[in-house]
């Protein structure tokens, strides 16, 4: 016979998993927030919250803040319930725990430092690589490859991207297996894609959006996030288009302002300036109880890096025919390389893990619940 430890621990936040279990145990006996997002309906399918459940729910949480402002047990209540914070803390831990190779988990824990390190190393790499021609005008205006041969860039970025994809793939694979999700099916997958593309769970459940600085709802965070998201996708598409131009059509860069790669890249770049700037602005105004303060360097560092990438890219486009091209190219390539290097060990990972959690939820909600609660 035993009295469960969580009885005595009801008021005492423990480590990340224990705190999520404690919080969910209280929420499961209340359930007022069921309409806000997917976390609470997923919670009601459980009566105990083991490690795998906690990891799953933590990554399903979008940190919208609705449940915190609505919570009758939030501080100063003695239950000191803060669901988004408990989830954010554990999310940070899952990124580090699932990181591959494992020792790179440390990069999450020192997110600010590792980002600065990656950026400096990348800038240094591209500053040294062209062997002193950076400040000289190139023969053909806008000819990046006079400074960095096309093959070198393909090799460098290809390798960095392939490694990032592998590392994230291994990490999310570990996460996927741990949460024992069941088999994906077409309706579940299509719902997941829809939830991602619309960022459904920042709409507050009522369409008025999520919280930022107080209990008022707004769509700004959702809009800024998706300017970033679609900006990134457009920039990625620009790179693919340029690859087609280069290899398939045999047209070398630089491309005209009206060309597909430049149009896509410009639109994406603008999204990647406005989006991260807006996110940074909202983040600086966030309610002090939101999220995990320890992860602010991770969040804000990522936004700043995205801003640097897009701003340097747009500046490069504007000044590619001037003498500033060389320096701007070094900065832009350095920023992009730092982005790729930190891809599996930075904030970018949240998108991968959250998508996996959303797919898990879309699969799970289509299965019958094992519970038959008396009052149903």
């Amino acid at each position: 016979m035993q009295m469960s430890e969580s009885t005595v621990g009801i008021n005492a936040p423990g480590d990340s998993e224990a705190e999520v279990a404690r919080v969910m145990q209280i929420c499961n006996a209340c359930r007022y927030c069921e309409g806000f997002c997917a976390v609470f309906p997923a919670m009601t399918r459980r009566i105990e919250f083991g490690k795998a459940d906690a990891h799953y729910l933590a990554n399903l949480c979008h940190n919208c803040g609705s449940c915190l402002h609505a919570c009758q047990y939030a501080p100063p209540h003695e239950f000191v319930l803060n669901v988004p914070r408990a989830m954010a803390r554990l999310r940070g831990k899952t990124y580090a725990d699932y990181a591959w190779p494992s020792f790179m988990g440390a990069a999450y824990r020192h997110a600010g430092g590792s980002l600065v390190l990656a950026l400096l190393a990348s800038l240094l790499l591209f500053a040294l690589l062209p062997a002193g021609q950076v400040f000289q005008p190139v023969d053909r205006p806008g000819d990046f490859f006079a400074l960095f041969p096309h093959g070198t860039l393909v090799w460098l970025f290809g390798a960095a991207f392939a490694f990032a994809a592998l590392a994230l793939g291994v990490g999310v694979g570990r996460f996927w297996r741990e949460v024992s999700p069941g088999v994906p099916n077409v309706p579940a997958a299509s719902e997941t894609v829809q939830s991602i593309l619309t960022l459904k769970y920042l709409d507050g459940g009522h369409g008025e959006g999520c919280n930022n600085e107080d209990d008022a709802f707004s769509l700004w965070r959702r809009n800024f996030h998706h300017l970033t998201f679609y900006g990134f996708l457009l920039c990625f598409a620009a790179t693919l288009a340029a690859t087609v131009y280069h290899y398939v059509l045999g047209i070398p860069a630089p491309y005209a302002l009206s060309s597909v790669p430049v149009l896509l890249g410009t639109a994406g770049g603008i999204g990647l300036v406005v989006g991260p700037a807006g996110q940074l602005w909202s983040n600086l105004r966030r309610h002090p109880l939101h999220g995990d303060p320890a992860q602010r360097p991770l969040d804000r560092g990522f936004m700043v890096l995205l801003l640097l990438t897009s701003a340097s890219g747009l500046a490069l486009l504007a000044c590619r025919d001037t003498v500033a091209m060389g320096v701007l190219l070094v900065v832009h390539l350095g920023a992009v390389m730092a982005f790729f290097l930190t891809l599996p060990y930075g904030k970018f990972a949240h998108g991968i893990y959250r998508s996996a959690a959303l797919l898990k939820w879309a699969i799970e909600k289509r299965q019958a619940s094992g519970l038959k609660l008396g009052s149903d």
Binding site: M1, Q2, M3, S4, S6, T7, I10, Q25, I26, N28, A29, C30, R31, Y32, C33, E34, G35, F36, P41, T44, I47, S66, C67, H69, A70, C71, Q72, Y73, P75, P76, H77, E78, F79, G205, H206, E208, D215, A216, G370, L371, K372, L373, G374, S375, D376
Partner: protein
Amino acid sequence: MYDVLVIGGGNAALCAALSARERGASVLLLESSPREWRGGNSQHTRNLRCMHDAPQEVLVDAYPEDEYWRDLLGVTGGLTDEALARLVIRSTASCRDWMRRHGVHFQPSLSGALHTARTNAFFMGGGKALVNAYCRSAARLGVEIRYDAPVDALELCDGDFVAARIGDERVAARSCVVAAGGFESNREWLRDAWGQNEQGEWPADNFLIRGTRFNRGVLLKHLIDSGADAIGDPSQSHCVAIDARAPLYDGGICTRVDCVSLGIMLNRNAERFYDEGEDFWPKRYAIWGRLVAKQPGQIGYAIIDAKAIGRFMPPVFPGIRANTLNDLARELGLDAARFMRTVNDYNAACRVGRFDHTVLDDCHTEGLSPAKTHWALPLDTPPFYGYALRPGITFTYLGLKVNGHAAVHFGGRPSRNLFVAGEMMAGNVLGKGYLAGIGMSIGTTFGRIAGTQAAQAARTGNAGNRYADE
């Protein structure tokens, strides 16, 4: 000088403030609590009981006026005022549009509460989200809100409101709505109201308060002492049996334990004392607080076995668990011999048919007193679980007598500019018992009436203080 002063910060007070402001009155709202505890008991609520003749957004089927009225008549045993009750019932048919205009969102019935899908409209995020929405709307409309402003007395003149007092500070207004809650957090008053029992105990000393720590009944007592007409019995309240480990105040919804009908309930002497299977739990949960309050030591023990796990809402505190009944008795601090006798007698009396906890099934006891009339399964599958339960008061029913205009009465005469809403007058409609979600129905209806009346009283100068004195 403000046109309308609203005293209180919960649902009824906010409804009054918004309604008065909508009618052009300048409004000051005084909330006794700090901002982070604002909203009184409303922060712990979750829904509104609504009549409707056809499916309406989150509400399924129909819940006609007469069925609502019969339900209310049933739980109150006639301790209600039909005219006022029907006023509340009818207003719930249309008040949700107004609530939505002020930012309240609704959601379908919660999982684990699907029995209320027809009768109750749930607030998305619960009552605190509703309070937040009303406060934002109030700020937008220009209602002034002051926190940490506990009014301790009113200045009255011949049954008319003149000013409110916060210590030495005097706040005058042309009219006033009091919606400052019941007295459930006033331990001395509760002690008085329940008195001493035959064993010499003071039962109320063992009560927990599910609601706000700020409802001390200061204004209620002051008004009754000042000659306002009172209604209701001070020992009547919304009282459920909650986990004995719950916090002394503000335990809210999560402290309830919903397994009583799936097992047996014992008192401190390890004896059963009431039919645990009398009716569906949602129809019976609100009687168990009072039942436990009448037991020695004001404590009860809900006992279940492994068969019940997963069949009731998970309680916030895990149950005491043991692999044998004997061990469970010891863990709970009950006399093991008597405990075993009670459980064995119960087990032997069970006539098991087809168990189904979603209907009034045919599993019952024979030759046992008190009987368990449904869902009677023997306690025979380890592990066994026990939960110690105490009476948990949500709010008290003693209040001020009103008419359909929410006017406070003095010697049978309605005040011209003093109105009351919420728990301070809920006893007019709810003399005893409870119907899930009706507290918010009464608060919303009478809050809006009181605010409207107060705005009108301020405009027509009924207060005696005319606009000229500004």
